[in-house]
């Protein structure tokens, strides 16, 4: 093949940064050589070479003129390559790119629909100022093209055009045309219309899914390919059926998709079911049952990544329906060759699935992971057995005790830590644990393990006859101990031990306190030692009152069988990245309230009617509820604030309330907005930083008031909002709430 000859060896240096100027010069010479231009194949090979360098990161923008010339060709492959080049460098060379536009516009009128579509798509991909005026006409023509291929491109072109000029007004005629094209016979045009409308109308809440549109989409579902199906299902989440009859009609239409061979369709359908049937728990449960087979299939898929996604979603489902997968527990046994991140998830699931029938087999399986070559995995397996021990303590204690015989540091440490948690949650196992600890000759070497052992010795010293001697070993070696956490634990444990076995402990406790008070350089440890010293001066009985507490928390054992959570807690993050990246765990407090359409939004939004489609969604439609969640530190806030981009900025139109700062803070707290910091009262400019959580996202906001007397400011507050992950609807809800609070304060100074 000729291509290879001219390109030289295909394994050319992968990072051709060295001598890159030479390379570009050489290419330029070749491309402008009339002999090369005459030979179509050689010419094309040079173009291929340019693109190769470009995709590898070399700057070949100097060749722009030569490449524009090369775009005038009948060879479609060459055209595509040159278009790729032009799109990449158009923003760097806007003046030169204008030269290319003529060729592209000519191609937009080519008789071959493929050429038309290609030219239009690439022209819309140019990212440079002034582009919209060149592409508007071809796009409008493309929307009416007789070839569906061109219409698909033109529809997305509308979205691209909007993204080039994000702050201009929305062109109503284009929006109407897109709504009309939802009726297009081509399924891809239909879905592209939804996508384009969603982008163009982003600030108004996205594409409107009213009853006629929803029913139209539902009826077209079977014509769509699987990608489009799952996307339409996601759009349908916005629709609320008016009556139960309509709801059940929709559900039965979608029923077949629950069992789709494509996991992403089945899961998207399930999410829609859970959302629509939120008032019908029986329907939800049935949908979960029917989707359990496809979900389980993803857990055994050949692709590891799909398997991981499947496992994460199974975990979510189990939060509400722990029994759903109980009979399939063997599907969650780990494969030898699976990566650890999958094994961890599987172990977590196995722990939840244990019941009287399968406990022996599950434990045997987990036992075999305890000697895994990865210490983290082995420790996780031991911790998993510890969790099961809260219900089936006898069997688990045998296994854990057996593991101690292996005399491996990481295993011993994990077992001791498991013991500590076990006696706390499950006091009836204390005697057995103490016996084992007594018999255990090896002491853990890492600081977590040491802390656990010391805690056990201190708390249950009266049941472990050798406890003081083990403790003495630690006190003798206290100069070599580095971890302050271990030092603290050693102090507490020695004091507790002194209370139950004073004769054996008194001497070493004295030595310990003396060393820590006189010679310890860690202030925390020294202060703690002083504290214990002063408490001990009050007498033994006083000390006992202060130091000893409950040895276990029996009330916690009720919680070990996890409570079933309502589905609504996780349904909103189902089939999003949340379960995979663990966001849903930290944002569990986020409460979702389904946005009930209010009366005013009921008017039929027929596609094609200008006035209604552009009306912004009514405020009352945007009910969201915010929650505080765990507090955010200043550092975290600052880091996130710097990392994120501003998603929304709005001038509120009134100055800041002249109330005392704590009134403002209290008022915002009432609506679950936390104030992180603000500038003192009269400072100019005045700023306040706020945060809150809502709909599974974290919202950060800044309030800013410039000098009210400055000539070009109206003295009104400006709010800037950042969010992670992005959700425009929540932001709008948040701004509305914030606005109403501030307004109230303004009107009615407390």
């Amino acid at each position: 093949m000729n291509i290879l000859d001219d390109m030289g060896a295909p394994e050319e240096p992968t990072m051709p940064y060295f001598g890159s100027e030479e390379t570009v010069k050489e290419l330029k010479r070749a491309l402008s050589n009339p002999h090369v231009q005459a030979d179509r194949l050689r010419y094309k090979n040079y173009i291929t070479k340019v693109i190769r360098y470009m995709t590898q990161g070399l700057d070949v923008s100097a060749l722009f003129m030569d490449m524009v010339k090369a775009s005038a060709t009948v060879d479609i492959v060459q055209k595509k390559l040159v278009y790729l080049y032009m799109c990449t460098y158009a923003s760097d060379k806007p003046d030169l790119a204008l030269l290319a536009i003529n060729t592209l516009r000519k191609d937009c009128a080519d008789p071959n629909p493929m050429v038309r579509g290609l030219a239009l798509r690439n022209m819309c991909n140019f990212r440079m100022p002034g582009m919209p005026e060149y592409i508007e006409q071809p796009i409008v023509a493309g929307l009416r093209d007789k070839a569906s291929y061109v219409r698909r491109v033109a529809v997305l072109g509308c979205a691209k055009m909007h993204s080039l000029q994000p702050n201009t007004d929305i062109d109503g005629s284009i929006v109407n045309e897109l709504y009309a094209l939802l009726r297009d016979p081509d399924p891809v045009v239909l879905v592209n219309c939804l996508r384009a409308l969603e982008e163009i109308l982003k600030d108004e809440g996205g594409v409107v899914i009213n009853k006629p549109i929803a029913h139209h989409l539902l009826n077209r579902m079977k014509d769509l390919d699987s990608w489009a199906q799952s996307e339409v299902l996601t759009f349908l989440l916005r629709y609320r059926p008016r009556s139960d009859d309509e709801l059940f009609d929709i559900l039965s239409l979608l029923d077949a998709f629950l069992q789709s061979a494509h996991a992403h369709v089945a899961v998207a359908t399930l999410r829609l079911f859970l959302h629509l049937a939120s008032a019908h728990p029986a329907v939800q449960a049935d949908a979960l049952l029917r989707t359990s087979a496809p979900l389980l299939a993803t857990c055994g898929a050949a692709s590891r990544e799909l398997r991981f996604a499947g496992l994460c979603h199974v975990q979510q489902v189990m939060r509400s329906q722990p029994g759903l997968f109980a009979t399939h527990y063997k599907r969650f046994f780990c494969g030898y060759s699976e990566p650890s991140y999958i094994k961890f998830r599987k172990m977590e699931i196995l722990v939840e699935l244990v019941n009287d029938e399968n406990v022996a087999l599950v434990l045997e399986e987990l036992r075999s992971y305890c000697t895994d070559v990865s210490p983290e995995l082995a420790q996780a397996a031991i911790a998993a057995i510890g969790r099961i021990a809260r219900t089936y303590s006898e069997k688990c204690l045998d296994i854990l005790t057996g593991l101690l015989a292996l005399k491996q540091d990481h295993i011993t440490s994990a077992v001791i830590q498991t013991f500590r948690d076990l006696v706390w949650f499950c006091p009836q196992s204390t005697a057995a644990v103490c016996q084992t600890v007594e018999a255990c000759v090896d002491n853990p070497q890492d600081s977590e393990g040491k802390q656990a052992l010391l805690w056990l010795l201190g708390e249950h010293g009266e049941q472990i006859s050798s406890a003081p001697y083990v403790m003495e070993g630690y006190i003798d070696g206290l100069k070599t101990e580095l971890s302050s956490a271990v030092k603290m634990e050693l102090l507490s444990a020695s004091v507790k031990m002194f209370l139950c076995r004073p004769a054996e402990t008194q001497d070493m406790l004295g030595r310990l306190l003396h060393y820590y008070i006189e010679e310890e350089s860690d202030m925390c440890v020294r202060d703690r030692a002083l504290l214990y010293y002063r408490v001990l001066q009050r007498g033994v009985e006083e000390t006992r009152k202060v130091v000893t507490g409950p040895k276990s928390d029996p009330s916690m054992s009720v919680l070990t069988g996890r409570q079933e959570e309502p589905i609504s807690l996780w349904a909103s993050t189902f089939n999003t990245l949340g379960p995979l990246s663990g966001w849903d765990l930290c944002l569990q407090t986020a409460v979702i309230s389904a946005s009930e359409p209010s009366g005013s939004a009921e008017n039929e939004l027929l596609p094609g009617s200008t006035d209604v489609t552009l009306s912004s969604p009514n405020d009352t439609q945007e009910e969201i509820s915010l929650s505080l969640g765990p507090p955010l530190s200043h550092e975290t806030f600052e880091k996130m604030w710097l990392d994120l981009e501003i998603l929304h900025r709005q001038t509120l139109g009134f100055p800041r309330p002249k109330t005392a700062p704590d009134t403002l803070q209290a008022a915002l707290q009432l609506v679950k907005i936390q104030t992180l910091a603000f500038t003192p009262g009269d400072a100019v400019p005045w700023k306040a930083y706020l945060y809150t959580r809502g709909t599974g996202t974290l919202i950060l906001a800044e309030l800013l008031q410039e000098d009210p007397d400055a000539p070009d400011s109206e003295g009104s507050l400006v709010v800037s909002v950042k969010q992670q992950p992005g959700n425009q609807q929540t932001i709008r809800g948040f701004v509305l709430i914030l606005k109403s609070v501030l307004q109230t304060l303004n009107v009615d100074p407390l």
Partner: protein, 451 residues
Amino acid sequence: MAINATVNTSINEEEQTGCLQSMVYSHEVRGEASKDSINVFYEMVTALSGDQPPVVMTHKDHQFIHVRQGGLYWVASTKTNPSPFTIIEFLNRLAALTKDYCGSLSEKSVRLNFALIYELLDEMVDFGYIQTTSTDILKNFIQTEAVSSKPFSLFDLSNVGLFGAETQQSKVAPSVAASRPIMSSRGEQGGKNEIFVDVIERLSVVIGSNGVLMKADIQGEIRIKCFLPTCSEMRIGLNEELNIGKSQLKGYSSAVRVDECRFHQAVKLDEFDTFRILKVCPSQGEQTVMQYQLCDELPCAPPFQLFPSVEKDYVNRVLIFLKLRCDLPPKSTALNVSITVPVPKGSVSMSQELSSPDQTAELQPKNKALLWEIPRFPGGAQLSALFKVDVPGLSSASLLEVGPVSMSFELPKQTCTGLQIRFLRLSPTQTGLSQRWVRYVTHSDSYTIRI
């Protein structure tokens, strides 16, 4: 929320040494990702420890989602919160299509065919939105021809491995026969109108220390790889006595049973219930027409039985004696059998006695395991091996660390469920001669035997 994905696909290749990596191909669709986002991804993915779930990574407000296929990372980045299933399946599909069009997946083939991959991506994704992934549609738009990284030769029989299946004509289709580009050089070897129908099963088994089958799980699929530019309807006949579901009664004879099966949406099932015939018009390229699974039971005996004995020899040595029996029918053979036996921590050296020179065994102290490899294992045979492992400071408890034994292997021409393809018929209107190949293979990378 829409799947408003910015599919910004970059492919990084990880060399074996793990220190020299390079980006092979990246394609920016929306202009949202900053220029260095590929480098950012690259730094993040290499900084991961083995235990962190790597599938989704967040950098500022960008999410990277990636899969690994063919030693390459296939990455999508997005600013929204899309469906992970959609993105992962799309990336897998992209990798499969790249394989279809380039013939094989490797850094080299991706490098050689970057123009083709660009063409593919440009038609598949517009502005970050998936347009189509169907080869029937794509073939109209893809014009670049694939550059094969090595010239395809029918006579290249050097690595007959996975497939070496008999067909009706009892000819052997070499295993590389199907790994050529679907549109490769229409002139030369093109015109080879071939259809491959593969029945592939993945077996995962746990056998208890008493030899009792504790867990068995078969995931199977029927995959068609079609090189015909256009193909009319094809009828695939499965075993007539195929039962689906747990409730159905077993027949008198050798009924084949699967728990459940799912079909590609293009498969017509009107003759499936009575005659077990699938009707499908295969598109060019590879597609899975049917997936099925069977849990908790094996219709045949487990392919391998292990009789281990682990003893403490004098002071610091463990003797591991393994007798492995292959319970396949005598005419069948298992290939690439590898057996991993965990050994006590601190094992320093090993000597072994193996029964034939083509077997190998080595101690891998890093993985705390010994690896015994058998390239060919005939059915009905029994192989044994003796390993003497030196472990300084051996205690009797250390013997507990030996086990469980994990095996991986391939069984060509075998399906564990017994699913067979009775016939493959193309409709008589199909023009041109076409060759049909049926191949069976079972593989397992999770066959665990407790000791």
